[in-house]
Amino acid sequence: MTLRHVFAGLMLGLVMVFALPSMAQSKELEGADLDRYQGMINQLRCLVCQNQTIADSNAPLAQDLREQVRTQIQSGRSDAEIIEYVTARYGDFVLYRPPFKRSTWLLWVGPFALLLGALAIAVSLMRRGRQRREATAVDPDRLRKLLDEESR
């Protein structure tokens, strides 16, 4: 879709960079640590960007946060501790996976509750059809055809 960037953003010193970030520093991580690093930077949001992860942004803030994630992984901090670190500073806004809490339980449960409700309605629809069929013992299709012809 077409893009054009919000002008007001520039006033705040916000950054709109579609250039690819360089992350040569991640070379120092290996194996499981590298996987953790990639996973972590791909679920943290760059605050100054339009809607990008810190992995995909070249904004200075994204660079700083990547650097933080890297050094914290190197110093043996757990994922939960790193998330605690960023949310203490920037709030839940930086997490692309919203935590399950009072303000978000509807977000997580809602779709599945809807599914259960919709399935219940669908099943009741099917059952109602069967009951009617048993009660009337008239083939509804024949009836429909007759009615259709009549209305013609």
Binding site: L3, A19, D56, D92, R97
Partner: protein
């Protein structure tokens, strides 16, 4: 002069659209056929006027008329001709003009191809389309006029957003809008049915090809957008669950549900009010998408320049159109209930389930997209809802659809036999289980539960669909002849379902087995990633028509043989100095090798991002085949035959008169 002509043409189109709304409705109320006929000529006149306006704007772009503010803001003297033409829809004002052009195009098409409709239904349908047109024309003329002049005239334009200077983006918006706007036809048919109180099998037959056509355009538009993002953003991703992507995905999901419920309503006469609701919802979500993208209520990678006045206008218009539609629905739909039975063990039962999952999936996307706004409105803080959420929630809602597709391709209408279901599906199931156990191991020497699950679903969908075709040939002496006798509608459906399997396979492997690395390479250096060796040969500068670029040459070899030479670029567009990444991709059906050039580091080294993406092509192929399935279904001869029959009936009627 030309821009003023364009502006005038828009004003005239507004006047015509108003006539197209009012006169036919009065005609229907007073039973005056001549007045109803105005709908047809009105739709066609409106189309001509908007085409004229559109050409005027295109002309201003082609001739680099910087006195037009919109042209000056979105073009540049060095911009190649192709992009000067596509720049018409490069920003808000012009893309709205494209929107109304498409809308008028659909209206014109209805007025030409639906002469067989009862006069009053046609008149009402075109009147509804006219009303939508009035709203958008007013929106353009009052808040977003692309023909506004600039004074003083700048010496050069500010350039088209470099992200849009890509062949993919030249055709992506028109396809997407064709789809979005195309759902307005089903919407108008639904409103006409509610107003006239008539919704019979003929109604569904008229609505189906239009809906499928809109759906196939939307499918292509989304696929192309995804492909573009993959190549142009340099992030190696193909779907980001960005609000704008969601805005196009929600109507797609509901449109898909509509296609299936239309089939049920046509074949069995049930779910009438539900089908009408879906027809209204599909277009509602298109309108909602337009609002979300252009009002600035959400932060998106793709946001247009936003202006609260525009947001207020679209919101008001959206509420007016949908408010009327939903009130009509609440008033009329209860009378459409009928008593026919739906059994779970029948095709219509499974299609009902399919609708449940599709619509709930669409609702989940809507909830995820709007939830940050809700939390903010209730002063509970600011949150982000991104890919980890959508993947976690969408997957369990969508996966059952694959199971249903396989079952529904085998089971009959009304009442299926459990025994037959088991007998016909045991082989497809066996094939799917065996293939899915083997596939991840064969391709990647590494098995994951998720990979087996995904492959199982994909192969199940594909094999069960093939079984559906095979079953139609079972009693034929000559099977090849039998193939030709299968209606195109069935071919279309089968192809689209098979495509779903292809798509699932692609998504499964590309999400589970992709590998990405950020590397630092100097000329002559090389790095290995999953069996492929990438060597940077050199990086050289060159000048494009309106940009300067660094182009790297990366040689990729496998088992000592060179398999590709890739040239990723980093471009700097002169007019605004913006920097863009052009990724380079080498692809076979089984894997993509993707290289993006990040930036130069000290010592002549460069930072590069390298991806190995297995089965990436299958994701696009799935989208393309789905759309092809749509084309096949629309070209089914029963639609053409009916038109021919209707035409001769009309001729006969005219002859009698």
């Amino acid at each position: 002069m030309i821009p003023e002509l364009g502006h005038f043409a828009l004003l005239a189109a507004l006047a015509v659209a108003l006539i197209q709304v009012i006169v036919p409705v009065v005609g229907v109320l007073r039973a005056r056929p001549r007045w109803m006929e105005v709908a047809v000529s009105g739709a066609q006149a409106q189309l001509l006027l908007i085409v004229a306006a559109y050409l005027c704007l295109t002309w201003s772009f082609v001739t680099r008329d910087w006195s037009v503010a919109y042209v000056a803001a979105n073009s540049h003297s060095q911009l190649p001709l192709m992009y000067r033409i596509s720049a018409v829809w490069g920003a808000h004002e012009g893309s709205m003009l494209l929107w109304v052009l498409m809308l008028a195009g659909w209206g014109g098409a209805v007025s030409v191809f639906s002469r067989r409709l009862p006069r009053d239904v046609l008149a009402l349908t075109l009147s509804v389309l006219g009303a939508i047109s009035v709203g958008f024309l007013l929106f353009i003329l009052l808040t977003s006029n692309p023909f506004d002049r600039n004074f003083p005239v700048p010496t050069d334009g500010r350039d088209l957003n470099p992200l849009l200077q890509d062949p993919g983006l030249v055709i992506h918006p028109p396809l997407l809008y064709m789809g979005y706007v195309g759902f307005s036809v089903a919407f108008a048919f639904a409103l006409a049915a509610l107003i006239s109180g008539r919704m019979d099998a003929a109604w569904t037959r008229w609505t189906r090809p239009w809906t499928t056509t809109a759906w196939l355009f939307l499918t292509m538009g989304i696929t192309l957008g995804s492909w573009w993002a993959y190549n142009e953003l340099g992030w190696g991703g193909w779907w980001f669950w960005d609000p704008v992507e969601n805005a196009s995905f929600m109507p797609w999901l509901v449109g898909t549900a509509l296609i299936h419920s239309l089939a049920v309503t046509e074949k069995r006469g049930v779910l009438k009010s539900w089908t009408l609701l879906l027809a209204i919802l599909a277009f509602s979500l298109s309108l909602l998408g337009t609002f979300l993208v252009r009002s600035g209520v959400l932060v998106s990678v793709h946001a247009f320049a936003t202006d609260p006045a525009r947001g207020v206008f679209i919101l008001g218009f959206l509420c007016a159109v949908l408010g009327v539609a939903f009130l009509l629905y609440a008033w009329r739909a209860p009378s459409l209930v009928n008593d026919a039975e739906i059994s779970l063990m029948s095709r219509e039962g499974l299609l009902l389930l399919n609708n449940v999952f599709l619509v709930v999936a669409a609702a989940a996307v809507l909830i995820g997209t709007l939830y940050p706004l809700v939390v903010d409105a209730f002063k509970l803080g600011k949150i982000s809802v991104g890919p980890p959420y959508f993947n976690a929630v969408f997957l369990p809602l969508a996966a059952p659809l694959g199971v249903i597709v396989g079952l529904a391709s085998v089971i009959g209408w009304k009442r299926g036999q459990r025994g037959e279901l088991v007998r016909r599906l045991r082989w497809p199931l066996l094939v799917a289980v065996l293939t899915s156990l083997a596939l991840p191991w064969i391709l990647h020497r590494q098995t994951q539960v998720a990979a087996i699950g995904g492959s199982l679903l994909a192969v199940w969908v594909m094999v069960a669909t093939l079984e559906g075709i095979w079953h139609r040939l079972r009693n034929r002496d000559n099977r090849w002849r039998g193939l030709l006798q299968i209606p195109r509608g069935v071919w279309g459906m089968s192809l689209a379902h098979f495509a779903l399997g292809v798509w699932i396979l692609g998504v499964t492997f590309v999400s589970l087995y992709s590998i990405e690395r950020d590397v630092r390479l100097g000329p002559g250096d090389s790095v290995e990633l999953s069996g492929y060796t990438y060597s940077l040969i050199d990086v050289q500068g060159y000048a494009g028509p309106n940009y300067d670029a660094d182009r790297a040459r990366v040689e990729v070899s496998h088992d000592g043989k060179v398999v590709a030479e890739l040239s990723p670029e980093k471009r700097r567009y002169r007019a605004q100095g913006s920097v863009m990444t052009e990724a380079a991709v080498d692809h076979t059906p089984f894997r993509d090798l993707y290289v993006a050039l990040a930036e130069s580091l000290e010592g002549g080294d460069w930072a590069l991002r390298i991806y190995y993406k297995p089965m990436m092509r299958l994701v696009w192929l799935g989208g393309v085949l789905m759309a092809l399935g749509g084309i096949l279904a629309v070209s089914d001869r029963r639609y053409r035959l009916e038109r021919a029959a209707q035409r001769s009936a009309v001729h006969a009627a005219e002859a009698v008169a």
